[in-house]
């Protein structure tokens, strides 16, 4: 078979994917951008985008009434909760991934399955499950009560929202880190020990830098859905923590498609810039020393 027919075969086999990608990724993205920069008569406008940055509203925090930038405030809150959730996922997921990668083959398979199982359940059901656990009259307080430890009021706090996000997105952190670590050559760790590194040093000087690609994809895969999540905050935050995802949904439900598209578009741009910066930073660290 010559090279030309080879590439033809390649192109043909790629065709279904290209069509799929165009129809369901590129075209919708183009629509989002188009709606974001047009008004209801589909004339070009920057109003939607400007509204995101300028819209204000009054907030009554019980003592004083302040004027705030509505969407910037919501975005800041979303970002804060997402960063906290991502950090918790990383701190819990990294050691777990390391332990998994160093276990026996059988144990590894079992652990991967255990981590994946919650993902087989519907996202809504998982969130409802957390509601019943965290409610003031829920399972957690039931247990605490039986032990005579008093009650916690978690539901409706930022903590509840973070718990929900961590639970939902944890596998997306563990799996990429695990897969990088599982491929790591054991001899590199031995070489580090041979060259005088105690365990902690091996982790810091060899395992961590070599696992950075997994860490980056883990962070990406947790941070992005956490920033734009909307359902968890409504259910576990009792609607008190209106997030950027909720804002998009709200505008969409209110049939305000153009502004919904503008928020989505801005969110996308901000996230892309963040990820690009992070990748650049990690790459530099990976190459120099």
């Amino acid at each position: 078979m010559n090279k030309k027919s080879n590439s033809l075969v390649q192109r043909i086999t790629l065709l279904p994917y290209s069509v799929w990608a165009t129809l369901f990724i590129l075209v919708p993205l183009a629509f989002v951008a188009y709606y974001a920069f047009t008004d209801s008569d589909f004339n070009f406008t920057m109003d939607n985008v400007m509204r995101f940055f300028t819209a204000t509203s009054m907030v009554d925090d019980g003592e004083t009434v302040r004027e705030v930038h509505t969407y910037l405030l919501i975005f800041g809150r979303s970002l804060k909760l997402a960063v906290i959730s991502t950090a918790i996922c990383l701190v819990m997921g990294y050691p777990l991934a390391y332990i998994m990668a160093r276990s026996k083959d059988r144990t590894q398979k079992i652990m991967v399955t255990l981590i994946m199982i919650p993902m087989w359940m519907n996202f809504l059901i998982r969130t409802y499950a957390w509601m019943t656990i965290l409610q003031d009259t829920g399972i957690l307080n039931g247990i605490l009560g039986m032990l005579g430890l008093g009650k916690l009021s978690i539901i409706g706090t930022e903590a509840a929202v973070v718990i929900g996000m961590v639970y939902d997105y944890f596998p997306y952190m563990v799996v990429p880190i695990y897969s990088v670590m599982a491929k790591m050559d054991v001899r590199l760790l031995e070489a580090a020990r041979d060259l005088g590194c105690p365990g902690i040093s091996v982790l810091r000087r060899v395992v961590w830098p070599l696992s950075l690609p997994g860490v980056i994809s883990g962070i990406t895969m947790v941070l992005i859905p956490s920033v734009s999540t909307f359902y968890i905050s409504q259910k576990l935050g009792n609607g008190k923590f209106y997030l950027i995802g909720d804002a998009i949904e709200g505008q969409y439900v209110a049939n305000n498609l153009h502004f919904a598209a503008a928020i989505a578009f801005i969110l996308m741009v901000i996230l892309l810039v963040c990820m690009a910066l992070m990748r650049k930073l990690a790459n530099r660290k990976l190459i120099v020393a």
């Binding site: 041979d194 105690p198 000087r205 990976l286």
Partner: protein, 372 residues
């Protein structure tokens, strides 16, 4: 000479497989010692025990008079050149070599100086900033050696370091390793399955099989005076025959009584007799001690390798004289060409050259060691 490492009654098994069966070995200061054997013989495990990456089930490892059974690798004054090098892919050449000095938090000026010195020793000056992935196999090898030697360990462990290099480069690196060992005075413990490599580089060769040491000696001793049929077969080519010791310095094999130099065996004791293919002279039939028919001739450049059928036993003979297939020839064997060995568990396991083929030999040589 001063003993630097002593292995005493080392036993090690994985699950139910015995990997090391009562290993006793002394390693002396400033020597180039090679652990030689086929894959699965336990040579790499022995090396890993010294490095601290494995622990023995029983037995002691003594390092300069101290028991180091429970000393972790990072505290041992021993460094390793790993199979396929194990260079850190996230660090450049300089940082790979500087790795252990950085761990010790040496001053920057000292690191600069020592790394520069090590890199010039392995002829890699100017490669400091290169990524290790952009280097050739031979260059990666040199980085691994520089990285392991920068700490000036008492002992350097080398785990099949040349296996991944092509023949020409391997020969060069053999020379170079030997030179580095001489220059630094560091004890080298070298693991290989390549007997030629072992003979050409080592002061001492340790032949291993099935988790046991078969023979320890200088390359010349190992070649000329193999302890048993395994060693005789593994090192070089040999014709191994069943024989009977008639009396001191007289041995019977192939239906002929030969003069030899060996003594100290019992009368009528069953023995294994080794005759190296290059030690057999070809003479006219009437002057031969043994006579046979040539069954195959292979031209190898320096000499011919011919297979001769003598009463059904195929001998290998290396000669510079051409003989044709089907020719009847006589064989003449000098007394000092005959080596008599006690019978061992390996007797009879190595037959004659009836199924011999150069091609097969090379195929099995090229195989990489899978695990171990």
């Amino acid at each position: 000479m001063k003993k630097i490492i002593e292995l005493k009654n080392i036993r090690k098994s994985y699950d139910d497989t015995v990997v090391l069966d009562n290993i006793n070995l002394d390693i002396y200061d400033n020597e180039f010692i090679t652990l030689l054997g086929p894959s699965g013989c336990g040579k790499t495990t022995t090396l890993r025990l010294i490095g601290g990456f494995e622990t023995a089930d029983s037995g002691d490892i003594i390092f300069m008079g101290e028991n180091i059974n429970d000393v972790p690798p990072y505290k041992r004054n021993v460094n390793t050149v790993f199979q396929r090098y194990a260079l850190f892919p996230h660090l450049n050449v300089f940082e790979n070599v500087a790795f252990s000095l950085r761990e010790k938090k040496r001053p920057e000026a000292e690191i600069q100086e020592k790394v520069t010195e090590m890199l010039s020793m392995v002829a890699l000056s100017g490669f400091e900033k290169r990524s290790v992935n952009s280097l050739s196999g031979g260059q990666q090898q040199r980085v691994a050696i520089a990285r392991a030697l920068i700490n000036q360990p008492k002992v350097l462990l080398l785990d099949e370091p040349l296996a991944a290099l092509d023949l020409k480069l391997r020969k060069d690196m053999q020379q170079e390793l030997k030179k580095i060992q001489k220059a630094t005075g560091i004890t080298f413990v070298f693991v290989t399955h390549d007997q030629e490599e072992a003979l050409s580089m080592s002061d001492t060769v340790v032949v291993m099989s099935e988790g046991r040491i078969q023979q320890i000696g200088t390359p010349v001793d190992i070649y000329n005076e193999p302890e048993n049929a395994f060693v005789a077969d593994f090192i070089g080519e040999s014709n191994i025959l069943d024989g009977v010791m008639m009396q001191d310095k007289r041995v019977l094999f192939s239906g002929h009584v030969f003069d030899c130099l060996d003594s100290g065996f019992g009368r009528r004791e069953q023995v294994d007799v080794v005759v190296r293919p290059e030690d057999v002279d070809i003479v006219p039939v009437e002057r031969g001690m043994l006579c046979g028919v040539v069954t195959s001739v292979t031209f190898l450049g320096v000499h011919y390798e011919i297979i001769v059928d003598i009463n059904g036993f195929k001998w290998m003979i290396q000669t510079t004289d051409f003989c044709d297939v089907d020719e009847h020839i006589g064989l003449y064997i000098e007394p000092d060409a005959i080596h008599v060995m006690k019978k061992s568990e390996y007797s009879g396991m190595y037959g004659d050259y009836s199924s011999f083929s150069n091609e097969l030999d090379e195929l099995s040589d090229a195989e990489m060691e899978p695990e171990e």
